[in-house]
């Protein structure tokens, strides 16, 4: 066997000086593009609001923000439905919002309020919105990866064509359980989509200091799982690849692995950009990555095609800003959980056998 690097080396995808130009949107449905632009702008403004509120001391706990990574969740979610079973990790605000979750309930959760997505018991790192297909996110790295496999396996045993979806980062593939999960999903032909959001960093540390190769899709190849590696800041490329892999899984052809290369504009946690504490995270690289902006590249293409205007963008932004302020104010005014929640939610309420 030769020393193929086809699935090992990200090449230009990891080069921040590349892919700055507007997207190629020829032949694409403008309605879909507008919805995707709206989705990405909404997530970005929410995340930026959270960054400011954390900086100003209104949020008590850590927030891991996905500014710059919006294209992935928005691209994937278009091909999901509420009966799918989506699992996330520590940086999952975009995942849950892209499924149509309520901004107000996300804010309320982050503030620890009873009206939050997890009834104020989870905060930013433990989100739940099963009615929208979001089964949960947790901060233990790779913790939910096998859960998504099991939820996909359940869909298969239940005779549906729903799928499990597992969002994780490039750091997670360094956890043994991800290798076990890929193998298990492959051998049992589980309908599950693995979405590796490769932002090149685990916490402070660049992938080059953690792994001998920078493409995580090599693990999919090793486990016999079809994979696609895309520019994660191109919402259309993400969507095309997701559609192919999701369709396969729904047809009973087994798991798929989507590696989407991206970069987070903020640090591992909270509002700072962390160029000072990052190992091999430079201000120069960050500036270049900001040029590979998933929103600006779509917007630029739409404007060039006459499908969008500066005025429309401004009105979208101000509409979203208003919505965010209303949601935030409501969340701030919402009630806290009762003290009884501490003990009442440890176990399911007793309701007889088989409850």
């Amino acid at each position: 066997m030769g020393s193929s690097t086809e699935w090992s080396d990200l090449g230009d995808l990891a080069d921040p000086s590349k892919y700055h130009e507007p997207l190629d949107i020829a032949g694409r449905d403008p309605e879909v593009l507008r919805a995707q632009l709206r989705g990405m702008v909404s997530i970005r403004l929410v995340e930026q609001h959270l960054a400011a509120m954390r900086r100003d001391g209104h949020i008590g706990g850590p927030v891991h923000l996905g500014v710059g990574q919006e294209g992935i969740a928005v691209g994937v979610s278009r091909f999901l439905r509420s009966s799918d079973r989506v699992f996330g990790a520590h940086r999952s605000h975009p995942h849950v919002l892209a499924l149509g979750s309520s901004i107000h309930r996300l804010f309320a959760e982050i503030l620890g309020k009873d009206t939050g997505l997890s009834r104020g018991m989870g905060g930013s790192m433990h989100l739940w919105d099963e009615p929208h297909g979001f089964y949960g996110s947790v901060p233990i790295v790779a913790g939910t990866v096998p859960l998504a496999v099991g939820a996909g396996l359940a869909a298969k045993l239940q005779g549906t064509d729903d799928i499990g979806v597992s969002y994780f980062g490039d750091g997670a593939v360094e956890e043994g359980v991800v290798q076990e999960s890929l193998n298990l999903a492959s051998i049992l032909k589980v309908p599950v989509l693995f979405v590796a959001e490769n932002n090149l960093f685990a916490s402070h540390m660049h992938i080059g200091l953690r792994q001998p190769f920078n493409a995580t899709a090599r693990f999919a190849v090793a486990h016999g799982i079809p994979c696609e590696v895309v520019d994660g800041n191109d919402v259309t490329a993400v969507g095309d690849a997701a559609e192919r892999l999701v369709d396969r899984a729904r047809r009973g052809e087994g798991p798929g692995f989507l590696e989407a290369v991206t970069f987070r504009w903020l640090g591992h946690v909270d509002w700072r950009d962390d160029v000072d504490v990052g190992v091999e995270r430079s201000a120069d690289d960050l500036a270049l990555w900001r040029e590979r902006d998933p929103i600006a590249r779509l917007r630029g293409a739409m404007e060039a095609a006459g499908q969008w205007s500066v005025d429309q963008q401004e009105s979208l932004t101000s509409e979203m800003d208003r919505e965010i302020v209303v949601a935030w104010d409501q969340a701030m005014a919402d009630p806290w959980p009762e003290d009884s929640a501490l003990l009442d939610r440890v176990y399911a309420k007793r309701g007889g056998v088989n409850s």
């Binding site: 997890s118 018991m121 089964y135 096998p146 999960s181 193998n183 298990l184 007793r350």
Partner: protein, 329 residues
């Protein structure tokens, strides 16, 4: 009168699987060795042939992913039972059990519950040594959100496994290969609500309360016979459900006897025996005890392999009898 059927502890477990798989399409089982007669004694013989390999899944050597997958399947509406033929190997699966399953209900505000059953087997002795011998029930009993079940009787082997699988909460069900040959006549299954089950007084006597779980309960019942011949009467309280632990049956018995001996197949330090002693110390009025409470446990050392050391390592009926006699002496 309902007919009874003869079971061993091992075949009673198999009967529980059969009962569940026949009646509940959402039950499935996964774990290592399930298509082989090797791993789990007679407790799952030919279930794969009876119910299909898609519901009885023999898995890759991946305790962590398989347990996590069972948790995820439970969140998606199934009632999975994941089997670890030796609890030692299940240590690889602690994230799925301790961080995920145990915490899930609480951290999502009580809106979802992973009703997974993790069946782990204690399989020790026979010169197997340190990594084939552990009894880690106290570890799991320490974790809020888990229900921890240790059947000591043939009836509980069947009925508490069924109750565990039907329970909405995550359950760690720990059975013991040293009990597999125990036999009993059982009536037909009556489904129990696990949350309503707890410690039970299996035998009565006025002088000493023996508290135990799993194999230690059988050891205590045997010791009780011998002690009765020596004129010492013992209550035997079988814990059955170690977490959440209902102290009342223990307190009521010790209140009566005034003497407590805890017999536990785990280690001493921070073990189940320490918890029982603490509950009694907290729960009874000063002066309730006629003698300082005692415990019989493993020594705080890993299991040895040499048969001579093994004999010294594990408590025997005689160890229990001697400790009880010291209490009344």
């Amino acid at each position: 009168m309902a007919e009874t059927t003869q079971y061993s502890y091992g075949t009673a477990i198999r009967a529980a699987f059969e009962y569940l798989l026949e009646r509940y399409p959402e039950v499935f089982v996964m774990g290592q060795g399930l298509w082989s007669p090797w791993y789990v004694g007679n407790s799952m013989t030919d279930l794969d042939k009876q119910f299909g390999a898609h519901r009885i899944i023999d898995t890759p050597v991946s305790e962590s992913a398989c347990t996590g997958a069972a948790v995820g399947a439970a969140l998606a509406g199934m009632k999975p039972i994941v089997v670890h033929p030796r609890i030692d190997f299940m240590v690889y699966a602690l994230d799925a059990v301790v961080n995920q399953a145990a915490k899930w209900s609480h951290m999502v505000g009580g809106q979802a519950h992973p009703g997974v059953t993790v069946r782990a087997i204690i399989n020790r002795g026979g010169e197997q040594g340190a990594q084939h011998s552990q009894a880690l029930h106290a570890w799991f009993a320490h974790i809020p959100g888990l229900r921890v079940v240790m059947p000591a009787t043939v009836a509980d082997a069947r009925d508490l496994l069924i109750a565990s699988a039907l329970c909405a909460d995550p359950v760690v069900f720990i059975d013991d290969r040293w009990l597999y040959d125990l036999t009993a006549e059982l009536p037909p299954v009556k489904e129990l609500e696990l949350a309503a089950e707890g410690p039970r007084v299996l035998a009565k006597g006025g002088d000493v309360t023996l508290v135990a779980s799993g194999y230690s309960t059988q050891l205590s019942l045997e010791a009780r016979e011998e002690l009765a011949n020596k004129g010492v009467g013992c209550d035997v309280v079988d814990l059955r459900v170690l977490n959440p632990l209902d102290a009342e049956p223990i307190l009521a018995s010790v209140q009566k006897t005034g003497r407590l001996l805890v017999v536990d197949g785990g280690w001493r330090t921070c073990g189940m025996s320490a918890e029982v002693l603490a509950l009694v110390a907290e729960g009874l009025p000063v002066g309730s005890l006629h003698a300082p409470p005692r415990r019989v446990t493993l020594p705080d050392a890993p299991a040895p392999t040499s048969r001579v050391l093994e004999k010294a390592y594990y408590p025997s009926r005689q160890t229990v009898v001697s400790a009880a006699l010291q209490l009344v002496g």
